[in-house]
């Protein structure tokens, strides 16, 4: 067995037992990337020298007998939406093609402090806007299970890297499903933590009331260990919570879930969900019942409005966030002749942003503009509250809620490019969670048409521990984690 086939916790154990060095682990991982990356295209850029230097430092610290964190020496990949000091960060966009951040995102700094070597930056939909990674300005990433299919998005590069054994762990970001949906269609584990659980300092913002950073991993134990590294209050992000210290997630994974109450979301188990996906999720529900979880149906009546609410709020926030890209302080500037600085902004932005980003800026500016604010934006904020109340009510009766993560298995590359509404339906099960601000975990729950299906486990605010516990118990019982794409 090659080192790259191990899970992160298995590798960590091998490193601690000095069965191999961190440098050897990184070398083995880089060789794997070299062998398969041409068929996957998960990465926008690799940082082998940095990874080897960080691994070397871990090996030296271990030789000196220093105390090391549980993931020391385990290499990871970061979505290109996260700032990396001295390493180009493009957010999948031409407008940031030459941007080299002078600082690390807090999560990247946390990984560095935990002794985790960084392998590189992964491909993504431009500014995290999309569900297939086809909106990247640079390349198409392929699903390791079927090269003709999308890896999901917008964290498609991160999910494909983990699924293809091109990274032990990866960081993603999730505004409407961008960690969970790619995790689901690539057959890995993905966690969207509670809004406020993880610092977003150094995350290039898309929609600030929805964005969260989280892990994509090979199994649930890895997810617990990685989430531990990410969970911390950060004075540099005023939205990161200081009131909910993270428990020791991995030590809570006992497999014991007897007596928990689960609600199966009725609105997400019918029309619009492929039969093969429904079948896998039903099987997962009976597996959980077999483990002693009480499962019954629950209604979230305002769920059906989540899509229009999201497609008002997210573009509105993006039109404001993306105003900073003006060709002055960083990124692309037009080379066309300009009449004044406003003309320079307008030409720079039209050249630098891709078609989907331009569309969302236009939509967002429109719904915020005079005469439309009340009818669209304010209305959406009110309906968002109704959606959250549905969840509040459900969590009075249930500890967790269950649904599919993605309504379909991975679709074909190019299939939905010209059908924006079909593309948006990819996030129908995941968007309500971002609107409510709660955490949700996607775990593999079987295969339909030979392609991975994900089970979404939703929880109360700041109760990631219960999600991980349920995901772990399910994974141990169902045994899907061992199935890997054949590359």
């Amino acid at each position: 067995m090659e080192a790259y086939e191990l899970t992160a916790h298995e590798l960590a154990k091998a490193l601690a037992g000095k069965e191999l060095s961190a440098v050897e682990a990184v070398e083995n991982q880089l060789a794997r990337i070299e062998a398969v990356e041409g068929r996957v295209e998960a990465y926008l850029r690799l940082t082998p020298d940095l990874a080897l230097a960080q691994a070397q430092a871990v090996d030296e610290a271990r030789a000196r007998g220093e105390a090391l964190g549980p993931l020391a020496g385990v290499p990871y990949a970061a979505k290109d939406v996260l700032c990396t000091n001295g390493v180009a960060t493009t957010c999948g966009s031409k407008i940031l093609e030459r941007f080299v951040p002078p600082y690390d995102a807090t999560v990247v700094a946390n990984c560095r402090a935990a002794g985790m070597p960084i392998l590189g930056k992964t491909n993504m939909d431009e500014f995290a806007m999309g569900s297939s990674t086809e909106n990247s300005a640079f390349k198409i990433t392929r699903n390791p299970w079927d090269p003709d299919r999308i890896p999901g998005g917008s964290s498609g590069g991160s999910a494909a890297a983990v699924a293809a054994n091109e990274a032990f762990l990866a960081l993603g970001s999730d505004t409407g499903g961008s960690i969970r949906q790619p995790a689901s269609v690539c057959g890995c584990v993905g966690l969207k933590p509670t809004y406020g659980r993880v610092s977003r300092y150094g995350l290039i913002a898309y929609a600030s009331s929805l964005d969260q950073i989280g892990p994509l991993t090979k199994d649930v134990r890895d997810c617990a260990l990685f989430q531990q590294v990410l969970s911390a209050h950060d004075p540099l992000d005023s939205t990161s919570s200081a009131d909910h210290p993270a428990p020791d997630y991995a030590s809570l994974l006992t497999g014991e879930v007897r007596g928990l109450r689960a609600g199966v979301v009725k609105e997400l188990m019918g029309e619009g969900i492929e039969p093969g996906v429904q079948e896998c999720v039903r099987q997962a529900v009976s597996t959980l019942e077999g483990l002693g979880v009480t499962c019954e149906e629950v209604e979230l009546p305002h769920c059906e409005y989540a899509l229009p609410v999201y497609y008002i709020i997210a573009p509105a926030e993006c039109s404001s966030n993306l105003a900073r890209f003006d060709g002055v302080r960083y990124g692309h500037r037009t080379e066309q002749p300009v009449t004044d600085f406003e003309d320079m902004f307008a030409k720079t932005r039209a050249e630098g942003f891709g078609p989907e980003v331009r569309l969302r800026i236009i939509k967002g500016t429109y719904v915020l503009s005079k005469g439309y604010y009340d009818a669209y934006y304010l209305k959406a904020l009110k309906v968002r509250n109704l959606i959250r109340r549905d969840f509040d009510r459900a969590f009075e009766r249930f500890d967790i809620l269950l649904s599919p993560t993605s309504p379909t298995v991975a679709f074909r590359i190019g299939e939905r490019v010209d059908d924006p509404l079909a593309m948006k339906l990819a996030d129908i099960c995941t968007i309500p969670i971002n609107l409510a601000g709660i955490p949700a975990l996607s775990v593999p729950c079987g295969f339909s048409e030979g392609l991975p299906v994900g089970l979404q486990i939703m929880g109360k605010p700041f109760d990631e521990a219960t999600l991980l516990q349920v995901g772990y118990a399910y994974e141990q019982q169902a045994g899907w984690a061992g199935r890997k794409a054949n590359l």
Binding site: Y195, S238, Y330, D340, R349, I361, A375, K382, N385
Partner: protein
């Protein structure tokens, strides 16, 4: 529900500082109207007594200590600019004269 006109889109593009071709304005108008139709569903809901929700987690007045910290390295920051002069960003002339 109202439809967005060509001039609406051109106006919004100006507000958003996007220099667009007529062809692109037509595409965006088409896409915008498609989604506006979809937004009309929300009008079915009575929200008279519902507070707007702008944040998922209630937080008020988050302060940190007002302490001096080292700034980012100025050369690396300004080095990202498409055009610079010493420690400054260089832009087209803003004020005449």
């Amino acid at each position: 529900m109202e439809q967005a006109t060509r001039d609406d889109v051109a106006h919004v593009a100006e507000l958003a500082h996007l220099a667009l071709s007529e062809e692109e304005i037509a595409r965006l108008q088409r896409e915008l109207n498609r989604i506006l139709e979809h937004f009309a569903e929300l009008q079915k809901l009575n929200t008279d007594d519902v507070e707007p929700m702008s944040h998922a987690v209630p937080m008020v007045n988050v302060f940190r200590e007002d302490a001096a910290r080292p700034s980012l390295p100025i050369d690396a920051v300004v080095g990202n600019a498409p055009d610079r002069a010493d420690e400054f960003f260089r832009v087209p002339r803003i004020v005449e004269g």
